[in-house]
């Protein structure tokens, strides 16, 4: 850089961007810090005590959460329940995805539906999505009892809500331009959906479905505890019997399954994208 005594001109009467950035960061930092302090005070949370208990928890887990011979003998049974849970999750996700796809078409701009229909679709999707799956499970326990259907519908509703919303966004983002061209050829909405929307958004849609399968396998464990079905029930059973070794084997097998599914779906994504 050559040294010039004269300074380059800067915009008049406007706050410098650099000053503004600093101000924003300082405010954001103070805000987060204040939130933490306030919530810690309100809930009587002891920061130091909390941190101190971490090593203790780790030591307790290392002592009790180790599969022993008795636990290993239960492995075939655990695996059968694990497979059952995984298959239910896959079935739920696929069913919900098919319903969500056709429902989301009503909410996208690509089908040129009236704006009020699109708004209703979004509201319904938001309702299903914002009620957590565990709450759905508890509500449905009244109608179906401790049954596998309860878990099925609980996952179905939350997946349906989540996927409807993501499908609407994906479809609008990916296929807007070719949809315009297809309508311009004189194609009907249904023809446009099958010739334009589905081919261009299918990879993204499959990717979202794979992600929901992963999520649902995790969630189904928790829901299984409530509905007394699947791998979640098994974990709950061993845990309440204080058979921590068997419970740990359940946890380990779930973790391995979820990781395996994640690796598999990443492979599938690479192929289809």
């Amino acid at each position: 850089m050559d040294k010039t005594t004269e300074k380059a001109p800067r915009p008049n009467n406007q706050t410098s961007v650099f000053v503004q950035r600093k101000r924003t960061f300082t405010l954001a930092f103070l805000g987060v810090a204040a939130l933490f302090v306030v919530s810690a005070v309100v809930t009587n949370y002891e920061i130091i005590g909390g941190l101190e208990s971490i090593p203790k928890a780790v030591i307790w887990m290392a002592q009790h959460f180790v599969p022993n011979a008795k636990a290993w003998s239960r492995l075939p049974y655990i695996l059968s329940k694990l497979v059952e849970t995984a298959l239910v999750s896959v079935a739920v996700t696929v069913c919900a995805a098919i319903c969500a796809f056709f429902f989301s078409l009503l909410g996208t701009k690509t089908t040129r539906t009236a704006p009020w229909i699109a708004r209703i679709v979004r509201i319904i999707a938001a309702f299903f999505r914002n009620v957590p799956d565990v709450v759905w499970a508890i509500l449905l326990l009244f109608s179906f009892g401790q049954n596998i259907l309860t878990g099925f519908f609980a996952l179905f509703f939350s997946t349906f809500g989540m996927l409807t919303r993501t499908f609407i966004e994906t479809i609008d983002e990916v296929s807007a331009s070719c949809v315009e061209a297809l309508y311009a050829t004189g194609a009907t909405s249904l023809q446009t959906v099958f010739n334009g929307v589905i081919p261009s958004s299918l990879p993204e849609i499959v990717s979202w479905v794979l992600y929901m399968i992963e999520t649902n396998i995790r969630s189904s464990t928790l829901i299984g505890i409530l509905t007394a079905t699947g791998i979640g029930y098994l974990f709950d059973l061993y845990y309440k019997r204080m058979d921590y070794s068997s419970a740990s084997l359940v946890v380990i097998s779930i973790v391995i399954l979820v990781i395996a599914i994640e690796i598999l779906s990443n492979k599938i994504r690479k192929v289809i994208m």
Partner: protein, 256 residues
């Protein structure tokens, strides 16, 4: 009788933005019309009014003897079938093959179900390959569109519109995203289609020199109003400056 007639057409977006104000002009069969004007002056809106991708606020548009503003859903399909459209960003289904994209031009002619399952007759496929051969895309027919270059994609766009057996082709900035050599290929094809197949062409163009070279008639639009309508020879320099509302000597163009 003109093939297309705009009668006092106005378009207002969202009750605020005036896109077109009292536009009237006629286009006759076989004409090659170029619409020029600054960005946002309403060029795209004019084209999209013709095939009812956009509904006009006032006035009437007569295309091929039909008042298209009074058309119901079924009649709109008929109008769109007869008016092919090509786009600046090609608007192809990128993940499908070239030949499938070309065959999309037949959707307006098909029953809903055969369009949905993508069933095309042998004659339609034969016609698609003929059009691709004419545009020099035979070897690309089975390739996916996202493997093509911009110029090739635009030729697929032209093929798709020709598949419609249109009476009119609407070109919305057909060369705005292309390099000069691809641009020339595209414009030569359009001009060839216009002359040999007698298909009327209306093209929105940013490049004044291209418009002057290819079009037989120029319509200049500024802020939603027609400020020039006539042959390219009579389009004077000062008129061009008026269209682009720019001071003399501030335009990038080679016009004498």
């Amino acid at each position: 009788m003109p093939i297309l007639e705009f009668k006092n057409v106005s378009k207002v977006y969202n009750n605020i933005t005036k896109a077109l104000t009292d536009i009237s002009f006629s286009v006759y069969e076989g004409e090659f019309v170029s619409i020029i004007g600054p960005s946002g002056s309403g060029k795209s809106t004019i084209l999209r009014c013709i095939n009812r991708l956009v509904d006009v606020t006032q006035g009437s548009i007569i295309f091929d003897g039909h008042d298209i503003n009074k058309a119901d859903k079924k009649e709109i399909r008929q109008v769109r079938k007869k008016a092919g459209m090509i786009f600046q960003h090609y608007n192809l289904v990128d993940r499908l093959s070239v030949i499938e994209n070309v065959l999309h031009g037949r959707l307006g002619y098909k029953s809903v179900m055969s369009g949905v399952i993508g069933h095309y007759t042998e004659e339609e496929k034969e016609k698609a390959f003929q059009i691709l051969a004419m545009l020099g895309l035979t070897e690309q027919a089975y390739k996916r569109c996202d493997e093509l270059s911009g110029g090739q994609k635009q030729r697929v766009g032209i093929a798709r519109s020709l598949m419609q057996e249109p009476r009119l082709i609407l070109c919305d900035e057909p060369i705005a995203s292309l390099d000069p050599s691809s641009s020339k290929i595209i414009m030569d094809h359009l001009s060839d289609i216009n002359e040999t197949m007698k298909i009327t062409c209306i093209a929105n163009l940013h490049q004044v020199d291209v418009a002057l070279k290819y079009a037989k008639r120029i319509i200049g639009i500024t802020a939603g109003q027609i400020v020039y309508d006539g042959p390219p020879e009579k389009l004077t320099r000062s008129k061009i400056y008026e269209i682009y509302q720019s001071d003399e000597g501030e335009l990038i163009t080679d016009v004498k």
